[in-house]
């Protein structure tokens, strides 16, 4: 027989003022199954908790209902007390007599009556409650970091530094990401590569980090603590074991006119190439699409010149499966394609470039060795117009959100330009300047006040090319309220930040949700900004939303901290509010499987002793189930139930209100 203890808290005057706590306790005493019912001034105090513990022991209670404040407040407190007294904590429930009753009603009899109902509901529930035990899942203490940009590198280094293994997967042949392409960084103007490359090398050499460049994730199975990830290592055609990185191959490669991705197509590379001189690993790959040997079957020069015989034309893509306990997604961003803006030349005007292209022009290692020359004819640009919010904050043709970093990098571009072309004119069109951040506003002010950049508030309506090859930029100065027309050698568009192409495909693989643009969704926008709704998958950097470098790094370190926290114990303990399938009555209609937001329900084959398939049923993976119960409500045969909120418990609650 159920032996339920009822404990009514006065919460000082908070409950007692409007609810007659003694009357509630007395009424509850008459509920079937209640063997003890008392009221007390402060149930959450030590003596109050002791009262519950004593009753659990003395009265051999099989359930406890505490009528007090919201369970959000003290449920953990009372459940701990129950546990300490030897009662399974899930046999304790709270009735919310304060937030839901005494604080919102004034009439004492009415509030008392409602309190009695609330108590009855929980008493009826607790009588049906089952003992639940925390779920333990083993954890594979290896992390997978997807993306070798600054966020991925940082996360990998932090996790590795914490003593755990990391597999770092990068799609391109080298670590570094976008940051490696930048000339200087705002607001300090320190050299991007100078601060990044040591970290790249550190990552490559760290004993806890396994680097997988030129590789992509193709499949993700499993769940928190126990993921199985398939990684496709693309054929490099160069044996990394043999290659010394001497460079003889790409110096001799005859296929030379291939636009360099790294230089944003402002420079060229060979078919066998390394993306940039500081690449990590510093070993070339062959671009099979452009390699004469691989496309036409003749050439073979690189193999001839390679002193170590590292060239392997018969190399093949390989798939490896890695087992990891956590995944950090740091896939970064891409720039929006401004060809949608016809009035800006729709991408056809050579001298209308984007921010990355300007970075490469300004970079000492870039195609112009740092001189700001026009792509069309290589002349030094005497006048440059920078246009902010290109695609950003334009719900009609671009994206509605603010890309956040463009104000800053445009100011940086203007400053860099003025440093390099002292007499040059730098004009910035802006909608408004958003420079929240340490030293950021000062930096923009410096561009305007010290470095002589001309800031014009307004939109550019048209850019066209004059006969002399220079560009005419027509717009409006909305502060002055007049049209402006500026002749420029070059226009730099601050294109919107968008997710990497294929971001949604990866999200689907991971089971991570994403917004309508393809940015990955955090589990909670305020309190869980690093986690995703998929347990064990964390976010770092601009794959979640536009971010600058320090933010990306901060989030990467946060993700690493989450991973290390997860790996700090051999097993994962989770609240046992999970769904359970009745395999006897399940008819495998798969409604639950389709409805589960977490992909936590799978097929399970039931076989006889000889291994013959008898039937297939649904099976909940306790590691993945988050306990929402959506599956329960779609199951027509009542074959799936949610621990902690079982059908029987809920029906008992409803019946208590009859």
């Amino acid at each position: 027989m159920a032996r339920v203890g009822v404990f009514i808290c006065h919460c000082g005057e908070n409950i007692g003022r409007t609810v007659d706590c003694a009357a509630v306790a007395k009424a509850a005493e008459a509920f079937p199954g209640v063997v003890k019912s008392v009221d007390y001034k402060y149930m959450c105090s030590d003596p109050g908790q002791q009262m519950i513990k004593d009753a659990i022991r003395d009265e051999r209670l099989t359930g406890v209902v505490v009528g007090a404040c919201s369970p959000r407040m003290h449920e953990p407190t009372f459940r701990r007390a129950a546990f300490e007294a030897g009662l399974n904590p899930y046999l304790l429930e709270m009735a919310n007599l304060r937030e839901h009753c005494s604080w919102v009603h004034e009439d004492r009899p009415v509030a008392t009556e409602k309190a009695i109902d609330l108590m009855r509901v929980m008493v009826e529930k607790v009588k049906k409650n089952a003992e639940l035990r925390p779920i333990r899942v083993p954890v594979e203490p290896t992390a997978l970091v997807i993306g070798g940009g600054i966020a991925g590198i940082q996360a990998a280094l932090d996790i590795a530094g914490g003593g755990k293994k990391v597999i770092l997967v990068e799609r391109s042949p080298s670590l570094g990401g976008h940051m490696a392409r930048l000339s200087e960084t705002f607001p300090t103007l320190d050299c991007s590569q100078c601060i990044l490359t040591p970290r790249m090398v550190e990552a490559a050499n760290h004993p806890n980090i396994t680097l997988m460049t030129y590789s992509e994730v193709t499949k993700v199975d499993g769940f928190i603590g126990n993921f199985e990830v398939t990684v496709r290592q693309k054929a490099r055609y160069v044996d990394p074991e043999k290659c010394t990185g001497c460079g003889a191959c790409f110096e001799k490669c005859p296929a030379k006119k291939i636009p360099s991705e790294f230089d944003a197509a402002l420079g060229n590379r060979t078919a066998i190439y390394r993306p940039f001189p500081q690449a990590v690993p510093n070993k070339p790959v062959i671009d099979a699409e452009h390699c004469i040997m691989l496309t036409k079957g003749k050439c073979g020069i690189c193999a001839k010149v390679c002193p170590t015989g590292a060239i392997k034309y018969d190399d093949k893509d390989r798939e490896v499966i890695v087992k990891v306990g956590a995944i950090v997604v740091a896939t970064g961003f891409e720039l929006w394609d401004h060809s949608a803006y016809g009035e800006y030349g729709a991408g056809r005007l050579e001298d209308v470039i984007n921010g990355f292209q300007f970075e490469r022009l300004a970079s000492a290692s870039g195609p112009t060795t740092g001189e700001i020359r026009r792509p069309s004819d290589g002349r030094i640009a005497e006048s440059v117009v920078f246009i902010q919010c290109c695609g950003s904050r334009d719900p009609k043709r671009g994206v509605p959100y603010c890309s956040k970093i463009c104000c800053m990098y445009t100011a940086k571009h203007a400053i860099l330009y003025r440093h390099k072309v002292h007499h040059g004119r730098a004009v910035v069109f802006y909608m408004d300047v958003r420079a929240g951040g340490k030293g950021y506003d000062e930096f923009v002010r410096r561009a305007i006040e010290t470095e002589g950049a001309e800031y014009i508030r307004g939109r550019v309506s048209r850019i066209y090319r004059r006969k002399d090859g220079r560009l005419v930029v027509k717009g409006a100065d909305t502060l002055a309220g007049r049209p402006v027309e500026i002749v420029a050698d070059m226009v730099v568009l601050a294109d919107a930040i968008v997710p990497q192409p294929g971001a949604s495909r990866l999200a689907q693989m991971l089971g991570v949700s994403y917004d309508e643009y393809g940015f990955y969704s955090e589990a909670h926008p305020k309190l869980r900004p690093v986690e995703t709704a998929k347990a064990g998958v964390f976010l770092a950097g601009a794959c979640q939303a536009p971010k600058d470098i320090p933010e990306s790094v901060a989030q990467a370190s946060a993700a690493a901290a989450k991973v290390l926290g997860l790996f700090s114990q051999p097993e994962l303990e989770r609240e046992p509010i999970v769904a359970k399938v009745n395999e006897v009555t399940c008819v495998h209609c798969r409604a639950c499987i389709q409805a589960c937001p977490y992909g936590a329900i799978e097929d399970k084959e039931i076989k006889d002793s000889k291994g013959n398939l008898i039937r297939t049923v649904a099976c909940v993976n306790e590691g993945e189930c988050q306990g929402c119960g959506t599956c329960v409500a779609v199951c027509r045969s009542g074959s799936i139930d949610l621990d902690g909120f079982t059908d029987e418990e809920v029906l008992a609650e409803i019946a208590a209100l009859e």
Partner: protein, 340 residues
């Protein structure tokens, strides 16, 4: 001879209702005809086969058979005495009247079920002789007849080409009813119409003999393919009497219900542990045939079927007892039962 105009049957119902009877008659209900308690304005239909049988009024599909007041962890038994109103089953089919013998036996063969008995004792049965039969009628194959008076307290005969009805009392209850009918009946003369011609379609003894030897016959699979395992046949059947007992409770009161049940349901015999002695529909349909044509005859010397044909008329899958029995008889002819 007590007679009345066939068109005045509703007047008779009115009179009997006025005399304190609960009058059960076949009435139009939507596109069906069913036995229902007479209410003025209803249309009596004696020309179509009702979807329910007379048992509804003696052994209702759900009834409370036990009841408790719940007091916390204890309970107080409450008396259960379902109402047993004085009832007349008027113009029911002779096959329905005949079924009562079967039910009387079941509810009294050992323990006496007074819930049933009280209603039975208060019921006067007045069947109407059938002058038409349809393809599913086979009362004559199971010892009945379209003009059978089995189970009847009085008998209504169509007469004068269907224009009149003769009411012939057979028992004291029947006589009391005639008395209660008073002016609704006239003294007079009428020529009874010939009862329907219902040819005998099979011999139940032959069927029984075959069943005794053929529990494991392959035929059962074939006979039961069409069965979808619902309870339409059992619930329509005037002699099916299987029931389930289920408790239902509020916080303050509980009742024990007796609900109709059917051996055609897969869960009927299924154990909590999963084992089912009748694992497939063939075993369940076999039980239905065996029960009516072997077990009941064996035990009570009755045929457990009155040949009303309702099961076949109402089966959504075209299962038919008549067809099964004729088929079995055919088998029996092919391979005569062992002499033993």
């Amino acid at each position: 001879m007590k007679i009345l105009d066939a068109s005045k049957l509703s007047d008779l119902a009115d009179t009997l209702a006025g005399a304190g009877y609960r009058v059960v008659v076949p009435v139009q209900d939507g596109d069906r005809v069913r036995y229902a308690e007479w209410s003025p304005g209803a249309t009596i239909r004696t020309d179509a086969f009702p979807v329910n049988s007379a048992k509804d009024f003696l052994f209702p599909r759900s009834e409370v058979i036990d009841r408790y007041q719940l007091d916390g962890d204890d309970f107080t038994p409450l008396e259960v005495r379902p109402p047993a109103p004085r009832t007349v089953l008027l113009a029911v089919r002779p096959c329905d009247a005949a079924s009562l013998a079967m039910l009387d036996t079941i509810f009294n063969w050992d323990y006496e079920d007074d819930l049933y008995n009280a209603r039975r004792a208060a019921t006067t049965v007045v069947p109407l002789v059938c002058t038409r039969a349809d393809a599913q009628c086979f009362c004559t194959s199971v010892g009945g007849a379209p003009d059978s008076s089995a189970g009847a307290d009085a008998l209504l005969h169509p007469a004068d080409g269907g224009s009149r009805l003769i009411l012939e009392p057979l028992t004291d209850k029947g006589k009391a009813l005639v008395e209660a009918a008073g002016g609704a009946l006239a003294d007079g003369k009428a020529a009874p119409d010939a009862p329907a011609d219902v040819p005998a379609r099979f011999d139940p003894d032959k069927v029984r003999a075959w069943l005794a030897d053929n529990f494991e016959a392959d035929l059962w699979d074939l006979l039961s393919y069409a069965c979808l395992g619902c309870g339409a046949c059992a619930y329509a059947c005037p002699t099916c009497h299987c029931f389930d007992m289920q408790d239902e409770a509020t916080r303050t009161e509980s009742v024990r219900l007796r609900n109709w049940d059917s051996c055609g349901f897969a869960l009927f015999t299924k154990h909590a542990g999963g084992h089912n002695p009748r694992p497939d529909q063939a075993a369940r349909w076999r039980n239905r045939v065996m029960h009516k044509f072997s077990y009941i005859p064996e035990r009570f010397d009755l045929v457990g079927c009155t040949g009303c044909g309702r099961c076949a008329r109402l089966c959504p899958a075209g299962m038919a007892m008549l067809e099964a029995c004729t088929r079995i008889e055919e088998e029996a002819r092919k391979a005569p039962a062992h002499e033993s």
